[in-house]
Structures are given as C-alpha cells and as structure tokens.
Amino acid sequence: MSDSTNEAAGERVVALTVNGDSVRRLCPSSRTLLDFLRVDLGLNGSKHGCDVGDCGACTVLVDGIPRLSCITLAVEVEGLAVRTIEGAGPDEARIVAAFDEHVASQCGYCTPGIVLCLSHLYSEDPAADDEAIRQALGSNICRCTGYTKILAAARAASQREASQPAQGGSDE
C-alpha cells in the first residue's frame, strides 16, 4: 500500500492494474475512475455519458464485475484490477463480431459498456437467455438503435458461446 503524498493538497498516489498493466499516478481524491482512465491514462474507450450513473457508457470491469467508472473514485479501486474495452480479449471480440454482423452499433457511444456487460454476463451464464440478456442490459442506455439489433447480436453471441453456431441473419 502506497503512502499518500501531497495529502495536504488533497492528492494521493493511486496504484492499480489496468488491462494487465500496473499503473501508479498521483491524482486528486476527487478524481473519478473514468477521468483517471481517460485523462491520466489516455484510454478513451470508456465513454463519458450522463455523468450520474444512469446510462452505462462508462462501464468497466473491476475484478471482473461491471462498475460505473463515472461514479467510482479512483482511490476506491486502489489495488484492484480494472479492465476497459481497450483490454478486450477473445470473449469481447466475439461479441463485437456479433454486433458487426447484426449492425447493433450505430453511433457506438454505448457499445463499449454494453460489450463489457455482456462479456460479464456470458462469463457467468454462457447460454444466457433473452430474459437474462434483457436484465443485464437494463444497465445500459442506447439512443440510436431501439435495442432490437442489440438484443439480436447479444442473442447470437450467447448461442455461439453455447457452441450452437449462429445461422446468420434470420432474426427479422
């Protein structure tokens, strides 16, 4: 555990793991995890949406669990492992491919948060059904798609993970 420096100025050293890399930065106590990622580390994949925890665009995985980085303090994840969309692996790549196939991403602002939420869902329930997908995506707002194509993509990614090959665009 790092001793704080410049505590009088309200600044602290925050050490954590981001996408597998150890990171140490001096930052104010009031720094959100979202600003820590975007401003201090230059990782712009996590999006700045509503700023108050409603929309899910800023979602990252902290120790594998989705968290809203806009209402998480960087100092509160000291010592933990953060994964952003920049750290996407094969699990996320498969979801992104399904989004491409089903045109589930339009402006793309909500997509990183949704992909990480779905990745977490499938890590717990590889064959998640529609109800489970809808529950999980209650955390994320999309203003473009009307959700139909997002659900189609999520359904396809789920079925693939359950080793039932997707049959291609027959969802309409």
């Binding site: 009031s30 108050v52 899910g56 979602t59 968290r67 809203l68 209402i71 303090l73 209650g138 955390s139």
Partner: protein
C-alpha cells in the same frame, strides 16, 4: 460535465477510527457511492472529508442461530445471490434486484441502502437547475416547492430494501466511539425529509441482522421503467401468523415508511390507501400514486395468498 467538489479522503481500517473521523465536522461515510457521489456532483453534499468503508471488513454474509447477518458493506448483488437469502428471504433478494440496474447492484451496498438520502423532484437535480428555482428547503433554500405552506420537507424515503427488512423484523447494528447498539429497522426513521435518520453522525452501520423465521413477505416496486428508476410506490406485505393481522409497509410516499395492519388483504389495502398521503415529490401525479398504493398492496397480498 459534472465535476466532483474537492475533498480529503481517508480509508481507515477499524470501525472505531471511522467513527472518530465521522465525529469531525464536514465528514461523510462512503460505501458504494452510487447515490452519494451523484449527490456530490449535484452539490447536495460538499464534504470536507470522505471516510471510506472499503477497508473496514464489513463485507460478507453469515448465518448463525436462525439469524442471517449481512455486513453493511456487502453489495446488493451479493445479498441477492446468497443461497440462504434465496431460500429463506426471497423478498429481500427481490428487493435487492429491483434497485436501479444490475451494474449498480454490484456497487451499492445493503448498508448504503438503509442509509439512503430521502429524494424529491426538486432536490435530486443539478446545482444549476436548483439555483434557477431558488433552491429548496432541504438544501440551501427556504421554501418547499412540494408544499410551500407546509411545515417541513417531504422528500420521500426511497430505500428499496427497507419495507421488506422492516416486516422481516431486521435489526441494524451500529458502532460508534460510544459503543455498539442494535436498532430495529422499524424504528430507524423519522417522518422528516431533512432529518429522516434517528442516528448520530458518527454512528457507523456495520451489519444488518435478519431472523430466518418463516414469515412470508412480499415485495413490490412501482416505477416508470423496470430499470434505473427509483420507486413511485414501494410496498412490502406480510401474511398473518396464527390468526394474527396482515401487515404492510409502504414507502416512497413520505419521509418515513408507513406501517399499517388489518384483518384481511382488502382491509389492508384500504388502510394503506388511507394512511398514505403522497405529495408531488415525483413527476407522476400524487393522486395516481395514492391510488396505486391500494393496488400494489392488494397485488402483494394476492401474490402471498396464491403462493
């Protein structure tokens, strides 16, 4: 862009140290932060010092002598998935699952839910929004926009888990420099939107104890969307034991949850309807919310009867 105000931060490793820090002016406890940090962005709170619960070891669920003990720092997600909760206290699991969104359930804690600030259409708004209206009684202003001629603040108690915990006979355990005490959840709250907690600033909620005795409780939450939104009406209903009375706790209609009891489900719904006087603390009409109290109590009771 809603920047946080600046503050000092401490993450003590003992509850007594946390209590000592909370006894200093301008300090607040932060657990999940899902409501507090939003309120700080809205400048509803501008604490000098944030005291974190993260190193206090308050996370975890245990069962002993027929009582489920939940550490106050346990997330709602963890509570809702615990096998004992699912088997013996399904209403508590259901209440946890109706909080905001699954992502927030993985951040927010049970303790934070019990300590949740009261809410109002004129209070939970950005600083600029509130300034343009001349602020409100609960924060920086002198007039309550809900009841300008009223006697106080009517911001609504909005903690999703409290009605069920109340009827399950749960107790909250607090630790401070003065010692340890247990308070029934049913006597934690005042009917005052500005001073709704019967607690001292340095009281640290450490655990919630819930008896597993099998009294069936049903939980219902009326809201606009089935995710994200706070309740418009929150209801828990308990079936009678040994020929006793039906009971209900209704929340989100006043600063303190409201308890009523009656001999039959129909009488219970009518008693709740009469006892609740919701005001315009939420966007949908208060008259409709009052009618929905009767509907939701009846639905919760019917679900228990058919179970």
């Amino acid at each position: 862009m809603l920047p946080l105000p600046t503050f000092e931060y401490a993450a003590p490793t003992t509850v007594l140290e946390a209590s000592r820090l909370l006894g200093t002016p301008g300090s607040r406890l932060v657990a999940g932060g899902t409501d507090l940090l939003v309120s700080m962005k809205h400048r509803l709170f501008e604490p000098r010092l944030l005291v974190s619960t993260r190193r206090l070891g308050l996370r975890g669920v245990s069962v002993a002598d027929g009582v489920l003990s939940v550490g106050a720092g346990t997330t709602l997600r963890e509570v809702a998935r615990h096998p004992t909760v699912l088997e013996h206290l399904p209403s508590l699991a259901a209440a946890c699952r109706t909080v905001a969104t699954p992502t927030i359930q993985g951040m927010a804690t049970l303790g934070g839910n019990l300590m949740l600030d009261t809410r109002c259409l004129y209070y939970n708004q950005p600083a600029g929004w509130r300034a343009s209206l001349g602020y409100c009684l609960k924060r920086e202003g002198t007039v309550c926009h809900v009841a300008p001629k009223g006697r106080g603040c009517y911001a609504a108690h909005s903690a999703d888990t409290v009605p069920a915990l109340w009827l399950l006979g749960a107790e909250a355990e607090f630790v401070s420099v003065r010692g340890v005490r247990r308070i029934p959840v049913s006597s934690m709250y005042h009917d005052d939107g500005m001073a709704w907690l019967r607690l001292e600033p340095d009281d640290v909620l450490t655990a919630v104890h819930v008896p597993l005795a099998g009294r069936a409780v049903g939980h219902r939450k009326l809201r606009t969307r089935q995710a994200i939104d706070y309740a418009l009406v929150l209801v828990a209903v308990r079936a009678p034991v040994d020929g006793g009375l039906w009971s209900a706790v209704v929340s989100s209609v006043s600063p303190s949850p409201i308890f009523v009891e009656a001999a039959t489900p129909a009488d219970l719904a009518e008693a709740a309807f009469r006892a609740c006087q919701p005001l315009s603390t939420h966007l949908p009409a208060a008259t409709w919310r009052k009618k929905m109290v009767r509907v939701e109590v009846a639905r919760a009771a019917a679900a228990l009867t058919s179970a």
